[in-house]
């Protein structure tokens, strides 16, 4: 299909959808309504969201599963109501079904002051490969971390060396190099909070996210 034909098809689809879709033409140039629904996490908790109108009127906080508010025109957001599951399924079901797979996280640990993995962590590498193989258009983020021994600059460097070492291991195991991005957080994102200059094996790690 040429680009022109594709364009015409897009225009035709938009025209049809505009003609058949719900009538929501706003008056006085005010924006159409927006509905925002907070959803619980799979583990049963729920985050929080704060909704205001673009006009700056009012503010409501959504904090439980299915909590929702609607903002009409320039008015303040409506009071929070819990939408029922059937309504959510009808209005949002197909969209929710199109969310990509949740990224899979792996944490690999290192020997003291070294870029060598512990044996337990080395054993996790096949799981990373499996996650990569099971995804559409896979990508792998590799972030190196250190404990607080030594200064922050050399720890940034050590974190990068660790991440680079993991990248090399992944490539050796068959992951395509172009899928992997490497970075370092050094001692700035401790898994276990410690004072400065504290040896902490659980902070000497590389976090991998397969997405």
């Amino acid at each position: 299909m040429t680009r022109r034909v594709l364009w015409l098809a897009v225009l035709a689809a938009l025209a049809v959808s505009a003609a058949c879709g719900p009538r929501r033409v706003s008056t006085n140039g005010a924006p159409g309504p927006s509905t925002v629904v907070l959803l619980g996490e799979p583990d049963g908790t729920a985050g929080r969201a704060v909704v205001t109108s673009v006009a700056g009127a009012g503010m409501v906080e959504l904090s439980g599963d299915r909590a929702s508010t609607t903002v009409v025109g320039r008015r303040a957001p409506s009071p929070v109501v819990a939408l029922d599951a059937a309504t959510i399924a009808r209005r949002f079901g197909p969209t929710l079904a199109s969310l990509p797979l949740a990224p899979e996280a792996f944490t690999l640990y290192f020997r003291l002051e070294s870029d060598e993995l512990t044996d337990e962590s080395r054993a996790l590498l096949p799981g990373v490969l499996k996650a990569v193989a099971g995804r559409p258009a896979p990508e792998v983020g590799v972030v190196g971390h250190t404990d607080t021994t030594g200064d922050s600059r050399s720890n940034y460097t050590l974190g990068l060396e660790r991440a680079t070492r993991v990248r090399t291991l992944l490539i050796g195991a068959g992951v395509e190099a172009s899928l992997i991005d490497v970075s370092s957080l050094g001692e700035s994102d401790l898994r276990i909070k410690t004072a400065d200059n504290v040896l902490e094996p659980r902070n000497r790690r590389v976090e991998i996210s397969v997405r």
Binding site: R3, L6, W7, V10, A13, V16, S17, R24, S26, A30, P31, G32, P33, S34, T35, V36, V37, L38, L39, A46, G47, R48, V50, V51, T52, S53, V54, R74, I88, R91, F92, P94, T95, L96, A97, S98, L99, P100, L101, A102, P103, P136, A137, E139, G141, V143, R153, S154, Y156, T157, L158, L160, E161, T164, R167, D181, S183, S184, L185, R211
Partner: protein, 148 residues
């Protein structure tokens, strides 16, 4: 600077950033696409397919049968339903210098959002906008339906 630092910085320049002068890293990639869907990148319409990169300031739009799933570099997940247009207005995810920003514009239609690392590391850096509402998040999943 120690020899070790030099080597690491050299590695960083070779690996962490795509060579100087090249295009910036994409904000994310399309992981799922169905029906009529496209990405608008620098004024060019690109059919949305699995693997298509999405950059800061790109739009994604779908027709009546279109759906698109996108995962961003910070693990944020987005799903764009039928007859929907969104814009990745801002996406900054520079971990080493703690620079974070994510602004998503829902121009019209239906969107599902699952927060990623930016919302965790810097919640105030995340803003979702519709024509009538502004949404701030604290680590969460949301669905949004917006009329233009």
């Amino acid at each position: 600077m120690t020899a070790r630092t030099c080597v690491a910085l050299l590695l960083a320049s070779l690996i962490a950033s795509p060579a100087l002068g090249q295009a910036p890293a994409p904000a994310g990639r399309i992981k799922l696409a169905a029906g009529m869907a496209f990405v608008v990148h620098e004024g060019q319409r690109i059919p949305a397919a699995v693997g298509t990169p999405v950059f800061e300031q790109d739009s994604v739009a779908t027709g009546a049968d279109g759906r698109v799933g996108v995962t961003l570099r910070d693990d944020t997940r987005l799903s764009i339903g039928p007859q929907t247009t969104i814009e990745i207005s801002r996406f900054v995810y520079a971990q080493s210098d703690s620079q974070f920003a994510f602004v998503l514009k829902v121009v019209r239609g239906v969107v599902a959002y699952v927060s990623g690392r930016i919302a965790k590391l810097s919640p105030d850096a995340v803003r979702l906008e519709t024509p009538s509402a502004i949404i701030g998040v604290r680590g969460t999943r949301l669905v949004i339906e917006a009329a233009p």
